[in-house]
Subunit: 407 residues, 2 copies
C-alpha cells in the first residue's frame, strides 16, 4: 500500500504542473492543460487495461471489465478542474486513488467491473456554474447551460467544440444503467478529522445549504451629536444578530452558520451606520433543522430591528436541500474502515461535491481523507501519506465487500 499511496500523491503533484498559469495551479473547465491531464490519465488507464473515452462534456472515462464480471459496475470518480491558485489534491486525488483501486481489484482478481470518471468541471470557476461534468453524467444537463459565457465571452458550447467534442452528444454522457454504486474519494477540506486524529471517514450526507442576506436600514447620524438613546445604528443591529448566528449554530449539533460578508453605509468612522447588509450561509445535513434555524434567525433579526426601530429586508439566495448518501453503501464503507483497522467515523460533508449530483442517479457515497491544517483551496493544501495508505486499505476492504455483495 505504501507504494500505491506514494504513487497516488506523486501523480497529483505531476498533474499539478499542468496548469494555465506557470508557478500556480489553475486549471479551469476545458482549458488547454486539460488535454495534458487527460492524455496522462488515459495512458495510465490503458496501461491498467481499461477502455477509455472522453464524453461530450469533457469527462474522461475509463472502464475496467474483468473476465467473469456481471453487467453491474462500480463507478469511482472525482474532478480534475481546480480553482485559481489551487492546491494539488482537491479533486485530483480522488482520480489517482480510483486508479489504485483498479490495481487493488486486479490484485484481488475481483470479478467486478469498475468505471473511473475524471469529471471535467466541478468548481464553477470558468462559467460561474459548478458541476458541468457531473450534471451530464447524472443525465440532467440543462441545454441552457450551453449559452453561459466565460469572462472572455466564450460560450460553454464553443468551449466544448474548441476542445474537439460535440455538444449535441451530451445526452450520451449519462451514467450507464448498469452502474449500481458511485463512490467519490476526496480530501475533507476541513479540520474535523485532524482534530479527532483520524485518517479517513465515510460521508453520510452532503449538507443542505441556505444562503440569504439581511439588510438593516436605520439612520446615518453624526457620531458626536447623536445621543446613544436616539440612534438607529444599523451596524449595532447587525452585530447583535451576528452573535445570534454564532449562538444558534454553536448549540445545534453539526450545524455551521457563517456571516462572511458585511457592508456598511456610509462606512465612515464619525457617522453612525445607516445601513448594514450581512450575508448568512447556514448548513446542516437535516433540512428541517436547517430551515427552522433560518426562520429562528430571521425572527431574531426581526425582533432586533423592531426594538431598534430599524427596517429589515431579507433576500433569499439559495435553499439547497441536503443530499443523504446511500445508507447501505455508506454502511459498507463504514465496515471497510473498521476492517482496515481504523476507528469508525462517519460525518457530513459541509461542502458540495460531484457525489451530490450523481446521488440523484445512482446509490452514492464518499470517502474523506484528513486535510492537514484543514487547509484547502490554497497552494498549501496537502495530504499525509499514511492517510492515503489508510484510504487504500479501506478501498481494498470495500471492493471485497462490494464484489461479494454483487456476486
Amino acid at each position: 500500500m505504501k507504494h500505491r499511496a506514494a504513487r497516488a500523491i506523486a501523480e497529483c503533484e505531476l498533474i499539478a504542473t499542468m496548469s494555465e498559469e506557470p508557478g500556480r495551479i489553475t486549471r479551469r473547465f476545458l482549458t488547454p492543460p486539460m488535454h495534458n491531464v487527460q492524455a496522462h490519465l488515459r495512458a495510465r488507464m490503458e496501461t491498467l487495461g481499461m477502455t477509455v473515452h472522453v464524453d461530450a462534456v469533457g469527462n474522461l472515462r475509463g472502464l475496467w471489465t474483468p473476465a467473469g464480471a456481471s453487467g453491474r459496475r462500480l463507478v469511482l470518480g472525482s474532478h480534475i478542474d481546480t480553482i485559481p491558485d489551487a492546491g494539488a489534491f482537491d479533486g485530483v486525488l480522488g482520480v489517482t486513488l480510483a486508479l489504485e483501486w483498479i490495481g487493488l481489484a486486479q490484485e484481488l482478481a475481483l470479478p467486478l467491473a469498475i468505471e473511473v470518471i475524471a469529471f471535467s468541471e466541478e468548481e464553477g470557476v470558468r462559467f460561474g456554474v459548478p458541476f458541468l461534468g457531473s450534471r451530464a453524467i447524472a443525465g440532467h444537463f440543462d441545454p441552457a447551460l450551453l449559452t453561459l459565457k466565460d469572462p472572455e465571452g466564450v460560450t460553454v458550447e464553443s468551449a466544448i467544440r474548441d476542445f474537439g467534442l460535440d455538444p449535441a452528444r451530451i445526452g450520451e454522457a449519462a451514467l450507464h444503467p448498469d452502474a449500481i454504486a458511485f463512490v467519490e474519494i476526496h480530501i475533507e477540506q476541513g479540520p474535523v478529522l485532524e482534530a479527532e486524529s483520524l485518517s479517513v471517514a465515510a460521508v453520510n450526507a452532503i449538507v443542505g445549504q441556505s444562503r440569504l442576506s439581511l439588510q438593516f436600514s436605520g439612520h446615518a447620524n453624526h457620531a458626536g451629536t447623536t445621543p446613544m438613546r436616539l440612534r438607529h445604528d444599523a451596524l449595532a443591529a447587525a452585530a447583535e444578530w451576528i452573535a445570534e448566528v454564532e449562538d444558534i449554530a454553536g448549540r445545534t449539533a453539526s450545524m455551521v452558520g457563517t456571516v462572511g460578508k458585511i457592508s456598511v453605509e456610509p462606512n465612515a468612522g464619525n457617522v453612525v451606520p445607516g445601513v448594514a447588509t450581512v450575508s448568512l450561509d447556514l448548513r446542516h445535513a437535516h433540512d428541517p433543522t436547517r430551515l427552522a434555524a433560518v426562520e429562528e434567525l430571521f425572527a431574531k433579526a426581526t425582533a432586533i430591528a423592531k426594538r431598534r426601530a430599524i427596517a429589515l429586508q431579507r433576500t433569499d439566495h439559495l435553499d439547497q436541500p441536503a443530499v443523504p448518501m446511500d445508507e447501505r453503501l455508506t454502511a459498507f464503507l463504514g465496515d471497510a474502515i473498521e476492517a482496515a483497522g481504523l476507528p469508525p467515523k462517519s460525518m457530513p460533508s459541509g461542502a458540495g461535491h460531484d457525489a451530490m449530483v450523481i446521488a440523484a442517479r445512482a446509490p452514492t457515497t464518499m470517502l474523506f481523507l484528513r486535510s492537514p491544517g484543514g487547509i484547502s483551496h490554497h497552494p498549501a493544501e496537502t495530504v499525509r501519506e499514511e492517510d492515503v495508505g489508510a484510504s487504500l486499505r479501506v478501498g481494498r476492504e470495500f471492493l471485497l465487500r462490494l464484489a461479494n455483495d454483487i456476486g
Copy 2:
C-alpha cells in the same frame, strides 16, 4: 424679533446659492464663491456702520465700535465654508445672527464694541485639515499648514495668494488683546433639543474625542467544512465587541461611542472571516471618563480576542481633550436664556467648532439652536423661525448683561 429671525434665515438661503456646484451647496475654503459671500456680508456690515477687512487667511472681520465703548470688545462668529452638498445653516447662521446681534446692540444703544468674524474654513474639506480660519485668529497657525495640498495639487499658500491675500501676514490675524469674550452661535446638528422640545441651549463644553481602530485577525476558513468550535471568526469577535461599545457608551451619561467603519477579509459569503477591522469614535466632556472607557473597551477586546485565539492590533488615531467653555460666560448665557422666558438648558457639543480653537485665546461660549430632525451636513438641514427668534431674545438679554458687566 420676527423680522430679524426671518432675515437671518433668508440671508442663509441667499448665501446658499453662492456655491461651487450649481444646485448643490458646496463652498470650500477660498474657492470663488467665497468672494461673493464676503462681498455680500461686507455690504451688510458696512450698512450697519461696521469697519470691515479680510485677514490674511481669508476671515471676513467687521468691527462695530459705538460711541462711548471701552477698549474691550465682544467677538461673535462662525464659519462660512461648507462640506460638499451641505445644508444652508451649518456655520452661516452663526454669522447672519451675529449681524442681527449688532442691530440689537444698536437698538439698545449699548456702549459695547463687537467684532463679527466670518471664519474662512472650519470643515477641513479642501485641505483635509479643519479650523484654518480660527487657528489664525487663535494665533497658532502652524506655517507647515501652508504646504498642504488640495486634490488639484494647489497649496494653502497658493490658495491664499490666488484669493488676493498675503500669507506672510497671517500673524496679524490673531485676535485683538481687547477681545474679552467669544460667542459662537450654531445649529446643534443633533437631535437633543428636538427630543426635549427646546429652542436653544448654552454649550458648557466641547467633548473630547478618541479615535482608534482595532484589527481582529483570526483564520479564514471554509464556511461549510469548519465546525463552529474550530473557528477563529474575526467578524464574530468584532461583532461581540461592537455590542460592548454600545453597552458602555449607553450606560455612561452623555457618552457617545460609535463603530462607524468596518472592513472584513476576504468578505465572501462562504468564507469564515479571517480579518475584521473596526473603527471606534468615543466622545465625552470629561477626559478621564473618556480615557477610562477607551481602556475598558480595549480590555474587553483583548479578552474577546484571547478567548477566541484571535490576534488583536490597536491603532490610535486621535486623543483630543475636551474643551470646557468659559464658566462665567456660559452662566451669563444661561441667565439670558431664562430671562428670555425659555427653559434653562446647557449641554456639551458632540461636534468640534471654531469655538474650541478660540477658547485657547479668549473666554468662549456657544449658543445652540434646535436642529429639526437632528439633520445636518445634508441639504435637508433646516431651522425653525421660532427658534431663531428665541435665540435673538437670548442674544438681547446676553448683550445687556455683558455690557453691564463690562461697563
